[in-house]
Symmetry: C2
Subunit: 457 residues, 2 copies
């Protein structure tokens, strides 16, 4: 039984009422952070269920009526995973309950719509840490973080979002609420369905609630910032930190083109530009003091600038600046096409240089920054999103980036996922037999192909 | 084209030669650690390929000829996952190459047949740590560790084997060698096929090689052992460590019935028995000194005994003893049925007490020990493996254990997997819709049902 798009909102309202079904489709629900590259979607209705059971009812209704549905968290994604192509937008924003928080047991259960900031704040108020820090924490939601397996700077020490998920409650086709895992830290009974849902971008099911493990918050943190004369010497400093075997928490880089564009907002004057290395250490006060000194030594040789802020205010200002880099580089043209490729650490310098060369070939300003320790770049081409020719050149440039990542033994995506914008790219890194398994999993979970169609492949 | 069991060895030899196909089936290839509960399998041929390509050829041949195959690592499993029921045993023991080791980049690639001990030793010789320590390290192989997602005491701080795998090379049906991930630390491009292969017990594919990430080895380690007057006060000590927010590396327990049976071999005299808490801390020398003092304080209230060995020899002796507990408790009757259930940490005391009550109801000596911080018990019933009535009573007792785990919101398996011995148990913790997805994944990966048939469900 298929419903005509035009009457989808009406039929949904007849079934679920005004409380759940919006009147019309506000533009907010048609885009995510890919707006900066001019991406906008289409949808016929927006449904905002209040409970997991209502999510199940909506999915069941959509499955019964052949209506495609796009689950939506905070809409902060960079791959267009939450940009709908047609049908129903299923917003999770009303599922905001912290179902449980047990500080003494290092765990909490939160519904999908709780913001990343709230998860981190609730943990911190209990002396605990929820380490994933993918950015845009005020707006992004934990359900979306799990559905994309979001990363962030501190993934180097602490791993990505999925590493902190011990259980998932999700609605799977044709509308069943299931739970795998829970308030437990180990489970090898069944196939790892939880890891399969993590990062599946809403194409295998709709995550309604997650059990998270937490860890004791470190007593102290201390970043060390250095500037180096170009990419080669910057990468030597990065390699020196890693090669010294220092258990740092984050190992970030910003290439000279990024530093130049973001320097004005840096918390202290940057007299000259260069390649920036940002190392964060955490632990007990004594441990942090020792590690900071060792990091200082590892990065200082030939460095142009060194800054190791000590006050909480300065440290917070540094990370606010780091969070804002993605926006700062956009100023020049109003938008950007930014891809999150991954390479083995020893190929990082090559990938940074090649990003600039690709930009030059396509007549676009380029820059990159990212999670050096994880070999995860944000390779970026600056565009005016209102200029289709620029966007088209940037997309052609991105194709070369994806090819580069695969050629260097890496991945086309380290944290954004495939979404809409990397459709078709998985074949660059997987053999046909692996792709066939990918498709078979999708078919097993979503035989009618209604869950976030057009994404993740 | 199906081959009669009687001619399987002959036909395999015709195709692969004497070098790869054993004459007859040595008993070694028919059992694993479940021999202690009297389990023995059946097979018609043993093939020992030397390379990943030969593994692919063997799987292709089996798929073509309808021959069931059971992949085999070190045979140290406790669930019968490597115990064949029929057909071909595919031993990975000849795939022993360390394909790469990059200490400065904290990573290595090793073939499936490399022992856990060798992986850990190679890492340690480079100043690095491969944290998973599932026990039986001399015999167990990394491929089997990954295929079961093996745990161990230090999983509390460091996570299980799968958390250290960044890439997998595996043979999937009908005989294709594929690679997912690699020498990279992040990858969210495709569905998480790697996590699906991890813990799949050879039922989805045959792992031939793995990329592992490593971490800097801690400068110092220090265990603290305490004895407490019974399970309740012991669990209070455990909760005190966790509730104090101490980032310990391992948080182990041994119940009074276990301590009594293993006390004679303890490195120092244990004047009286009791409930043992074993906490391990690691880090820099200063950090370890501070943490050890804090752990001491957390566990000392009401403790009967405290021991914090400082010399490397004493510490090694303690862990050798801990590794030997599983064997020590067997002495009484010659065998045991031991299940690795998981419960939320706050239900641990209940599960420990209930293990004893279940044993009593089935007229069997019982005890438990395990990874307290992860809520992972080794609930054990002592049996004479030559007495089928005892084994049958123990298996009935295990059913009650699995029911207990599910009832407390836990899992029927934290590290051993389902294998043969927990067939049918997954339904206790998963809803029918989740079980259907489990079966659909199996059907997608192994349409002919030839990969380790009868296991993992």
């Amino acid at each position: 039984v298929s419903v005509a798009p035009a009457s989808l909102e009406q039929e949904l309202r007849a079934r679920f009422g005004d409380e759940l079904v919006l009147r019309g489709v506000p533009p907010l629900y048609l885009s995510d952070a890919t707006e900066a590259r001019g991406l906008h979607g289409n949808a016929d209705a927006v449904v905002l269920p209040r409970t997991a059971e209502e999510v199940a009812d909506v999915v069941a209704w959509c499955y019964e009526h052949g209506a495609p549905l796009t689950p939506r968290g905070g809409g902060t994604g960079f791959a267009g995973g939450a940009v709908p192509l047609e049908g129903v937008v299923l917003g999770l924003e009303r599922l905001k309950a912290v179902r449980s928080l047990d500080p003494e047991l290092w765990r909490m259960e939160v519904e999908a719509g709780v913001t990343t900031l709230d998860v981190r704040r609730r943990a911190r108020e209990s002396g605990l840490l929820f380490p994933p820090d993918p950015g845009a924490a005020e707006q992004s939601q934990i359900g979306g973080n799990v559905a994309t397996n979001a990363g962030g700077p501190h993934a180097f020490k602490y791993g990505v979002t999925g590493d902190w998920v011990t259980g998932i409650e999700a609605v799977v086709a044709p509308g069943e609420l299931v739970q795998v895992g829970g308030a437990i830290r180990k489970d090898v009974a069944g196939y790892d369905l939880a890891s399969l849902l993590v990062g599946s971008e809403g194409t295998l099911g709709v995550i309604t609630s997650v059990w998270l493990r937490l860890t004791p918050a470190p007593e102290a943190v201390a970043p060390v910032v250095s500037l180096h004369d170009g990419t080669m010497s910057g990468c030597e400093a990065l390699a020196s930190v890693l090669g010294s075997g220092l258990p740092v928490a984050a190992l970030e880089y910003l290439d000279p083109e990024t530093v130049r564009r973001a320097a004005d907002a840096f918390p202290v004057p940057l007299e000259r530009g260069g390649f920036m290395v940002l190392v964060d250490v955490d632990g007990s006060t004594e441990e942090v003091a020792r590690l900071r000194a060792e990091v200082h030594e590892a990065v200082s040789e030939g460095s142009l600038f060194l800054w190791a802020p000590e006050s909480a205010a300065e440290i917070a200002a540094l990370w606010r600046w780091r969070d804002g880099v993605s926006i700062a580089v956009q100023v020049e043209r109003g938008g950007k096409v930014s891809e999150d490729i991954v390479v083995p650490f020893d190929r990082l310098g090559e990938a940074i240089e090649e990003t600039l060369a690709i930009g030059a070939r396509h007549d676009l300003p380029a820059c990159s920054w990212g999670h050096a320790g994880d070999g995860n770049l944000h390779s970026t081409f600056l565009v005016d999103p209102g200029e289709p020719a620029q966007v088209a050149r940037a997309e052609a440039a991105s194709e070369e980036l994806f090819d580069l990542a695969a050629r260097l033994g890496g991945s086309v995506s380290g944290e954004h996922g495939l979404g809409l914008v990397k459709g078709g790219q998985l074949r660059r890194q997987w053999a046909p037999a692996a792709l066939a398994l990918h498709d078979a999993i999708k078919a097993a979970f979503d035989p009618a192909g209604l869950l976030n169609p057009g994404k993740k492949r």
